[in-house]
């Protein structure tokens, strides 16, 4: 049990009493369920399978180290500000899970509900944000419309007077915010481990065994493992892993860059996003400005970005809030995004009995971590989709029912 008291006691006794946050077990020959992918979604799936469904003979198989994928490469934003049915209820559920996460996991993931402000810069954008905000309210979440003066009260440092795209107002989502990304992975990992889940690192899955349409297990770098149920939870590499089961997915992989500056005294208290270019920003508790923009736009698995988008993001930052100009970028990196034709994810069964998919998170996967695991665990354990994730069907593209194209850019994967 972690607590301030424990830290105090350990501090007095030389910090000798700490123990591993999770075990490193050898893989067993057989599990009731195997989750491929030890990222945020895979770990939360394992946790909720054990916690909600009492399935404890399960393993998470991770190619690298726990949390080595996008859970540790994002801009740490959590929010429930979607407007289309299917997305609305899901992200609403996720935010509620975030709100109790630390107490649930006994791990401080630093969930910080500092407020997300989406700025708009034309009448048309305002109308679209009002539609969004009203959908959020109808879902039972919070949303508040800010006029320019309202924005100025929250964000006095924006350039209100000499900017290419004047600020018409903003949509404030007060319950949105940030969380410490790595700690989310570690908290779920520790929670799952304590419930008996085997977290197996450095265990790449090299094959998925299917007999007569039924999944039987997986081949791994550490030998074959039998399993009654297998889930592919490998966003960023979904296509390659799904191909092991003969699946071709509606996914194209793209790089999304992010940037962090050196530590600075508090200057940005919210999550702020620009409406006329690709730029969003928040300040970490350590003091670094964490910001990002849009995809590099071409299919890539390189986990690194290129200059044009990096420069665009910083140009957008300079037109919106030129007070950050003297902050210096320490590091840039790229994550690999599963981009789907409508910009929304997939949590579904496959045609193979016992094989499940959780993928296509585009660049919204971080905030979905709790609810994604919750819903996938429900689907794996009960065979029916969780009520908050019914919209994430794999076949929606084929039949056109329930497309969730929040951006309205259509079936070009990189435009979402």
């Amino acid at each position: 049990m972690f607590s301030g008291l424990r830290i105090f006691k350990e501090g007095l006794t030389g910090n000798t009493g700490w123990s591993p946050h999770w075990r490193d077990p050898a893989p067993k020959a057989e599990y009731d369920a195997v989750i491929i992918g030890g990222g945020g979604h895979g770990l939360s799936t394992a946790y909720y399978l054990a916690k909600n469904h009492r399935m404890t003979n399960i393993a998470v198989l991770e190619k690298g180290y726990i949390g080595s994928g996008n859970i540790g490469r994002n801009t740490t934003i959590i929010r429930a500000n979607y407007y289309l049915p299917g997305n609305s209820e899901f992200y609403s559920h996720s935010l509620k899970l975030w709100e109790g996460l630390e107490q649930e996991l006994n791990y401080n993931a630093m969930v910080s509900q500092r407020g997300v402000i989406n700025l708009f810069h034309s009448d048309g954008q305002r109308d679209a944000f009002v539609r969004r905000g009203n959908a959020m309210r109808a879902q039972g979440d919070d949303a508040e419309l800010l006029d320019p003066e309202g924005v100025r009260r929250y964000l006095p440092y924006l350039d209100f007077d000499n900017t290419r795209f004047p600020i018409y107002g903003g949509l404030l989502h007060a319950r949105g915010g940030t969380a410490r990304h790595d700690a989310v992975a570690w908290g779920y990992a520790r929670g799952a481990d304590r419930l008996g889940v085997d977290l197996i690192q450095n265990c790449e899955v090299t094959g998925i065994d299917i007999e007569s349409g039924v999944v039987r297990g997986v081949q791994t770098a550490r030998g074959p493992i039998k399993a009654k149920k297998v889930s592919i939870v490998t966003a960023g590499r979904s296509g390659q892993v799904a191909a092991l089961a003969g699946l071709r997915l509606p996914i194209e992989s793209h790089v999304l860059q992010a940037f962090v500056t050196e530590g600075l005294k508090p200057c940005i208290d919210h999550v702020v996003s620009f409406g006329m270019g690709h730029f969003y920003i928040s300040q970490s508790d350590k003091g670094g400005l964490v910001f990002g923009g849009d995809l590099d736009f071409y299919a890539s698995y390189a986990q690194r970005g290129n200059l044009p988008m990096a420069e665009h993001v910083m140009e957008a930052g300079m037109t919106l809030m030129p007070m950050i100009g003297k902050a210096k970028v320490l590091r840039s990196w790229g994550g690999i995004m599963d981009m789907t034709p409508d910009g929304s994810p997939i949590i579904d069964k496959t045609d193979t009995y016992g094989l499940f998919l959780d993928c296509g998170w585009c660049y919204g996967g971080f905030k979905a971590v709790p609810a994604s695991g919750y819903a996938l665990a429900h689907l794996m354990a009960t065979g029916v989709p969780h009520e908050t994730a019914r919209g994430f069907r794999l076949d929606r593209f084929r039949d056109g029912h329930g497309l969730m194209d929040e951006e309205g850019t259509g079936a070009q994967h990189n435009l979402h």
Binding site: F2, S3, G4, R6, N15, Y65, P85, E102, N108, Q113, S122, A128, R131, G133, N134, A135, R137, A138, E144, L145, D159, N162, R164, D182, W186, Q201, T261, E262, G263, K265, P266, C267, M276, Q283, D285, K286, G287, N306, L307, A310, E311, M314, E315, A316, G317, M318, T319, P322, M323, G325, K326, K328, V329, S332, D399, G400, H401, G402, T409, G410
Partner: protein
């Protein structure tokens, strides 16, 4: 302490500057660090977590400790490294992250609490009660964290970006880089030599080595003179190559020299495109972990030599040297030669021997601890003969040199462990077109660097077909580098690895204990390597010690990935040009000046600016102006600039066939001189855009698009042609800016035009949806009888150079007829009254079926999007369909973005029936109207729905109606 006769600073040029309000004097060529060290000031900063007093540790951009703030007001710049900050007259420097003062910082209480503040302590507490995080714990943590502060003011100085191209980019101007640049420059290649330092030469300026028959620094200066004289070589000092990107592209940051000057950029961010590049970035020295190894006065051995030889500064009066390699011994020798007292040379290698000096050499010994809160006073040395305490004010430490492999890792390359130098070297081929040479490739002697630089340049040039003469490499020191790995002194105290972030060996061990054994886990759990130096000083030692703690080898433990930028880059530099209006181009119509002159507020429409409305005398609100403009169009005649709509000229024998493919409806049957409204789908079956296309000739069409979609549609046409139907003979050109086009709308529109046109119009030859050439005053133009307002209307187009005068003429004539100019607000009201659509309705997720245009999808031919539009989900009768909305209470307004619910249903998602897309007050009808999408809307005309705008706290009831409010039969169009 400044040593007479030493160094490259210009002692004839004293420079006055301030630190925390106290005046100091240095010399031209000094950095802030060298100038303060010359005064004997060691304390310059505080650490991040424990607020430990810190001095300068290095002499370069890797400095982790001595970060300071420069300037005030909008010019305030935090987190500058004292080691690269060149002093200039009037420079004002302040310490940061310390209160109330640098020498007495209350937050240093954290240092006493260290047992409770170890690795990741914050993950284990601050969880109760839940609401305290945002309101208590987090604000406290945020205030304590951070280094320097931003001013909060907009940047007021100039920053720039630029492109450069070359055959060979040489990164680093030390012996390797200078020799590479000389070799390539003499061969006639186009060369860029970039170095982050103000002075080329690298370690040649920091050492006493000779090159050929002269001092190394003199050779560097001479080489630089030769290079600068070559027209094919560009020497870029103060220019740090920050990142390696694809296809030979590099990012580089150039700092302005000296004091900020108006008109000169503070920084320039370069994008350098090089056919080949030589990485000659040198090496960085690492520390050794021992108890309290972070005190002011403890520095790298190489930095102590650099301050001595380049700046003529002794970093202390009584100096000890502690190192596990023979390079460290040079520090003792150089200091002695300069007359500085060397208290001891301590080498942990049992068999260490070195050149004799008049100082004690303790072989097999190690520094176990230190004393001195604000500055080093004493070290404790464990020798074979017992513990020795030595009074010193400077300790020069060398744990060995790490090649500067960073750029070779920017494309995910992993460096290779090399036992001989106990460090990583670049893996060849990690960055295509880049070769690492010299010290950054593990060749540490000056002679080896010179030879490697010449060879690397020759090899690179040969690959791009440039022949070079065999290099004339001068003779130089070739002493082999000898090292035995030594990472940490055993002991109980806190031994720092990552100085800035206060990560100690205990933290690494705790991480390993808690199963953060992966090097990435260790980094993320302890924050080692996440400070402003990004692990340049600590990574290799930290992972060696992690390897030790986890019982693995170093290669097996691996390394974290170095990512761009190599040194911190300001957002203002990389985002140069974006501030203010520079973020996006501004597009102006030919009537812009006239509109501004009429006091019309100009609003952004994509990249364009368009007039919102034209205020008349006595009007105080936009609504008054808008209502008047709507009425004048409905009753008289209005003029509106519609040039921003996309215009695409389409020509070729197959033009008509082509349009049948991209439009849902048929254009091949359109007669010359006629115009047709067309609907365009994306291949996924949703509406892409709409607009009219006019057939100007048998093989010539003019397509119009919405303002926002002009580029997208042209791209789409080119795609469909080149990728799908290259067999069709047709070509496209955007002519949006070539033609100025004005809507002339209203019952008197023909009257107005007939006053102007060389040949008057009549309804028989110019019925609705016709087009053709016209002349006015001899100017050839085009006329289209089309209408977005629903009135009898035309659009008249002339070459753009006539636009301004035509607009003036049209407006004057309109005013004479009781009409006038109208802006975007009135245009929007007119089109809503008429039920015409914009991107508020065609927002990318609607189908032809949704907007009631499914009959426009021809059954007789294929078109883009037709098949996918037939998917069951896109033709589901329950889909939300376009409807009109009228408030039951005619006095209330509607708001766009409100959602629609059944009259009795709660306003919850499960009951959501649709939403309002566009609203207006209709002066024609005298009440508010709206367009929206409603589930099964077309079957529900006459029903009453709840319109809920929870965001604005508004709710009303509205009647569902057809989406055309004015003249549904279209009689006015044809009149």
């Amino acid at each position: 302490m400044r040593i007479d006769g030493k160094g490259l600073v210009d002692r004839s040029s004293p420079i006055r500057f301030q630190f925390d309000g106290i005046g100091h004097t240095g010399f031209a060529g000094d950095t802030f660090a060298s100038a303060l060290l010359a005064k004997g000031q060691r304390l310059m900063a505080r650490s991040f977590k424990y607020h430990r007093p810190r001095g300068v540790m290095t002499a370069g951009s890797e400095e982790p400790n001595a970060l300071v703030t420069v300037g005030t007001g909008a010019a305030q710049e935090p987190n500058l490294r004292a080691t690269t900050l060149e002093i200039y007259h009037g420079l004002e420097v302040r310490s940061q992250n310390a209160w109330p003062s640098l020498s007495f910082d209350v937050m240093a209480v954290n240092d006493a609490l260290w047992p409770f503040l170890g690795a990741g302590f914050y993950y284990k507490t601050f969880m109760w009660p839940r609401s305290f995080w945002e309101h208590l714990y987090e604000p406290l943590i945020r205030r304590a964290a951070g280094l320097g502060a931003l001013s909060g003011q907009s940047v007021a100085e100039r920053y720039e970006k630029a492109f450069a191209f070359c055959d060979l980019l040489v990164i680093g101007a030390g012996p390797t880089g200078l020799m590479a640049a000389l070799t390539a420059g003499r061969a006639g290649a186009d060369v860029i030599l970039a170095d982050e330092d103000s002075l080329p030469g690298g370690r040649l300026n920091a050492e006493r080595h000779a090159v050929g028959d002269m001092a190394g620094s003199d050779w560097a200066a001479q080489a630089t003179v030769e290079l600068r004289a070559m027209p094919n070589v560009r020497v870029m000092t103060r220019t740090c190559v920050t990142g390696a990107y694809d296809q030979g592209t590099y990012g580089a940051l150039e700092r302005g020299a000296g004091a900020p000057q108006p008109g000169r950029p503070r920084e320039t961010f370069w994008r350098i495109v090089a056919k080949r590049s030589v990485l000659a970035a040198g090496a960085l020295e690492r520390q050794i972990a021992f108890a309290d190894n972070d005190r002011p006065g403890i520095m790298t051995a190489g930095a102590v030599r650099a301050y001595l030889n380049r700046w003529g500064v002794a970093a202390g009066r009584r100096v000890a040297v502690f190192g596990n390699n023979n390079d460290a011994h040079r520090t003792a020798l150089d200091l002695r030669a300069a007359g500085v007292e060397v208290v001891a040379l301590i080498d942990p290698r049992p068999k260490a021997s070195g050149p004799k000096g008049d100082f004690p050499l303790y072989a097999g010994a190690m520094v176990e601890g230190t004393r001195g809160w604000l500055g080093l006073r004493e070290i404790t040395v464990k020798t074979g003969g017992g513990i020795v305490r030595l009074a010193v004010d400077c300790l020069a430490v060398s744990g060995g040199w790490n090649p500067t492999v960073h750029l070779t890792c920017h494309m995910n390359g992993k460096p290779t462990w090399c036992d001989a130098i106990a460090s990583f070297v670049p893996t060849p081929g990690a960055v295509p077109g880049l070769v690492a040479a010299g010290a950054c490739a593990g060749a540490f002697s000056t002679a080896a660097c010179l030879a490697a630089g010449a060879q690397a340049a020759r090899d690179a040039l040969a690959e791009i077909g440039v022949t070079s003469a065999p290099p004339d490499v001068p003779e130089a020191d070739d002493t082999p580098y000898r090292i035995e790995p030594f990472w940490a002194v055993p002991g109980a105290g806190r031994a720092w690895l990552d100085y800035q972030n206060d990560v100690t060996l205990k933290d690494i061990k705790q991480a390993a204990t808690e199963n953060f054994r992966s090097v990435e886990h260790m980094k993320r759990y302890t924050t080692q390597g996440m400070a402003t130096d990004q692990g340049k000083n600590s990574n290799v030692a930290a992972l060696a010690l992690l390897a030790d703690a986890t019982g693995r080898g170093i290669p097996e433990t691996g390394n974290t990935t170095f990512r761009p930028p190599y040194t911190p880059v300001s957002i203002a530099a990389m985002g140069a040009g974006g501030q203010g209006m520079g973020f996006a181009p501004r597009r102006f119509t030919t009537s812009h000046a006239a509109s501004v002159q009429r006091d019309a507020p100009m609003v952004e429409a994509g990249l364009w600016y368009r007039p919102s409305y034209f205020p008349a005398a006595g009007e105080t609100t936009w609504r008054e102006a808008c209502d008047r403009e709507v009425r004048l169009v409905r009753e008289k005649v209005g003029v509106c600039d519609v040039s921003t709509l996309g215009k695409i000229d389409i020509q070729g024998p197959d033009a008509a066939t082509f349009l049948d493919i991209v439009y849902t409806n048929t254009f091949s049957t359109l007669q010359v001189g006629r115009v047709r409204y067309g609907l365009m789908l994306r291949e996924d079956g949703h509406v892409m855009d709409d607009g009219t296309s006019a057939r100007l000739g048998e093989t010539h069409f003019l397509m119009t698009t919405t303002t926002a979609a002009a580029g997208l549609v042209l791209r789409h046409l080119e795609f469909v042609h080149q990728a799908l139907r290259p067999d069709l003979d047709v070509r496209f050109a955007s002519v949006t800016e070539q033609w100025a086009q004005f809507a002339v709308a209203g019952p008197k529109s023909r009257t107005l035009l007939n006053d102007l046109l060389d040949r008057p119009l009549d309804n028989e030859t110019w019925p609705f949806m016709t087009c053709g050439p016209i002349t006015l005053g001899g100017v050839e133009g085009r006329l289209f009888r089309i209408s977005f307002s629903g009135e009898h209307a035309y659009e008249i187009a002339v070459p753009a150079r006539f636009g301004a005068s035509l607009f003036d003429t049209l407006v004057a004539r309109a005013e004479a007829l009781g009409g006038g100019a109208y802006g975007m607000e009135a245009l929007n009201v007119l089109r809503i009254e008429k039920g015409h659509l914009t991107h508020a309705e065609i927002h990318g997720a609607t189908t032809a079926f949704d907007i009631g245009f499914d009959r426009m999808v021809s059954a007789n031919k294929d078109c883009i999007g037709k098949t996918m539009a037939a998917r069951p989900g896109l033709t589901d009768p329950n889909r939300q369909q376009l409807v009109g909305l009228r408030p039951l209470d005619r006095a209330v307004e509607l708001t766009a973005g409100a959602h629609l619910f059944d009259r009795a249903a709660p306003a919850r998602r499960a009951h959501d029936q649709g939403y309002v897309t566009s609203v207006a007050f209709s002066p024609t009808l005298g009440h508010a109207i709206g367009l929206g999408f409603l589930s099964r809307g077309r079957d529900r005309h006459g029903e009453v729905v709840r319109v809920v705008d929870a965001l604005r706290g508004k709710e009303t009831l509205a009647e569902v109606c057809p989406p055309v409010f004015v003249d549904p039969q279209g009689g006015r169009l044809r009149g």
